[in-house]
């Protein structure tokens, strides 16, 4: 039984100075968790994410982070992450250390961490400027005389946070739609917080075990937080709030306006439940998808 509130989970597992990986590729971005980290005033975090997205723009604007490990810095489908750009280009509100890879490289760092390997090989980076700016990108000759590959070292975050459709109270987690690197981050991290739209009975999980991506034994906290990924989306539960992604382009261009937004929507609400209420039912109605059932398969009963 690992069920706890977001406040409890963040208080227990995210500490100043920690390396925190928050994953979900476009889908299932754990905004509720990030906002709680902001509210609890965490500082000097090393934030890790393939695609920092709006969430890290907000967390960095709020002053949570010292360093960013990433591979794509953009507001997907819209434009820039202006708070992060201000930190990098002008040191506002304070400088931000960057450690960057291509996506394959960041993924490889998680894999080395999850697989407990001293390095993970990939073919990228030859002929690029990455090795000059990132000493974690090195090269190894194959002992079989069949080539040379880039390698990156393991990344084992202090805590990994992911959002999914559903889990049981022990953290056995099922997700569908884009699955990103959620599984790898969960296995690589020293502690794992899983945030879900629904807590389901263990029998629901057991009915379709191939759908379970994260086994409970790697999970420390299960947080039940409906709409916890807004303004990103959860496949089958709600749509991406593209309107907000467009608005963020304007909000984040202006440091004062961004801080006012944080005051209203992060510091100004107690928790995600209050955020959901404040957004109002018309938001959730607007983002509600139609239905597209998966169909069933039969595992067979063997007695």
């Amino acid at each position: 039984m690992k069920l706890m509130s977001m406040r409890e989970a963040i208080a227990a597992y995210v500490h100043d100075g920690d390396t925190v990986a928050i994953e979900g590729f476009t889908a299932c971005i754990p905004f509720a968790a990030g906002h709680e980290i902001i509210r609890q005033g965490r500082r000097d975090l090393t934030l890790v994410r393939l695609t920092p997205d709006l969430l890290f723009d907000q967390m960095i604007a709020a002053g949570c982070a010292r360093k960013l490990i990433f591979s794509f810095l953009g507001n997907p489908g819209v434009g820039s992450l202006h708070a992060i750009r201000r930190a990098v280009e002008k040191g506002v509100p304070h400088p931000l250390e960057l450690e960057e890879y291509s996506h394959a490289g960041t993924v490889a760092r998680y894999l080395a961490g999850a697989y407990r390997l001293p390095f993970y090989p990939l073919h990228s980076y030859v002929g690029t400027d990455y090795p000059k700016i990132n000493p974690n990108i090195r090269f190894v000759d194959s002992p079989f005389g069949n080539g040379r590959v880039a390698v990156v070292p393991p990344l084992n975050p202090d805590v990994g946070i992911i959002h999914a459709q559903r889990a049981d109270v022990n953290g056995n987690t099922q997700l569908w739609g884009l699955v990103g690197v959620q599984k790898e981050v969960a296995f690589a991290s020293k502690h794992v917080i899983v945030v879900v739209e629904e807590i389901v009975d263990e029998e629901v999980i057991r009915a379709d075990p191939n759908r379970t991506m994260i086994p409970g034994f790697v999970v420390d906290a299960v947080v039940h937080e409906p709409y916890g990924a807004h303004p990103s989306y959860v496949q089958g539960y709600y749509d991406r709030d593209n309107q907000f992604y467009l608005e963020w382009e304007e909000i984040s261009r202006d440091e004062a306006r961004l801080q006012a937004w944080l005051d209203e929507w992060v510091y100004g609400v107690r928790d995600r439940a209050e955020y959901v209420e404040k957004m109002g039912p018309e938001t959730w109605e607007r983002l509600k998808p139609g239905t597209a059932p998966s169909g069933q398969v039969d595992y067979g009963r063997y007695v």
Binding site: T26, L73, S102, A104, Y130, V179, G180
Partner: protein, 253 residues
């Protein structure tokens, strides 16, 4: 039918280049439109692969990003990120990939990382995402971008994605698996890469565009193919499919 725009010409030229191709790695925007046009014309078996982990998408709306949920519902397969890069891309299954860039040089090397010094950038750009990996592995890379002098530069501020490096067989010598850039499609002209030197070569001017206009937008002395052509203008059918089926809202006009 109304006269076509430079963007439409760019999409249509890119679509034609996909003739017979079966797997293409693509983002949202113009290249996506080009792929969907190709499926309806020159490449009926073309399967689209998105970096987000989607193969065989069948979206019911125009996707907003490569992670749009409409790309997931009804797709043929969804796969995790490690598979996108190690299995699909590094595994060598992608025939053609589309890339754009803030800066491109004469050998098709691309910069999407910074303008200015890396450590003190004038403009911090998004970085690689999957671009470096795509440029490394796709059998052929098609670059789609507007022809602008600030993009077509003598020297990149940062090499994010490898093209033909400093030309010749250097790319192959260093063991980079994919074939590298094969085509640059812009709003004014089409470029290929010389078989030996691997230098970008102007191969076709879009109708009405002059050589001088093209030269003015390129930061080095561009090589010109001896058989420089004029791009075949869009057919009625190409324009009809693009406007009526793929872009009814006119986003890509």
């Amino acid at each position: 039918m109304e006269k076509y725009t430079p963007s439409e010409m760019m999409i249509i030229a890119a679509a034609r280049a996909l003739a017979g191709v079966k797997t293409v790695f693509v983002g949202i925007g113009l290249p996506n439109a080009a792929c969907n046009l190709a499926r309806r014309t020159v490449a009926p078996d073309l399967a689209l692969i998105y970096e987000s982990g989607v193969y065989g998408a069948r979206p019911e709306r125009l996707p907003f990003s490569i992670g749009d949920p409409a790309l997931v519902t009804g797709a043929l397969s969804i796969f995790p990120m490690p598979d996108v890069f190690a299995l699909y891309l590094q595994g060598g299954w992608v025939e053609v990939a589309f890339l754009g860039a803030a800066q491109i040089d004469r050998f098709g090397n691309l910069n999407t990382t910074v303008i200015g010094d890396y450590h003190h950038p004038k403009v911090r750009l998004p970085g690689s995402g999957g671009a470096c990996d795509i440029a490394t592995h796709a059998r052929r890379v098609f670059i789609v971008t507007r022809l602008q002098r600030r993009r077509f530069v003598e020297r990149l501020d940062f090499v994010t994605s490898p093209g033909h490096l400093d030309g010749g067989n250097r790319r192959q010598e260093l063991g980079i698996p994919g074939g590298g850039p094969a085509l640059v499609v812009t709003d004014r002209a089409i470029f290929t890469f010389d078989d030996e030197t691997r230098e970008m070569t102007l191969s076709s001017l879009h109708p009405g565009v002059t050589l001088e206009e093209v030269r003015a937008e390129i930061g080095w002395e561009i090589k010109v193919a001896s058989d420089l052509e004029v791009t075949e203008p869009p057919t009625e059918e190409e324009l009809r499919i693009l406007r009526e089926e793929l872009d009814p809202q006119g986003i890509y006009r």
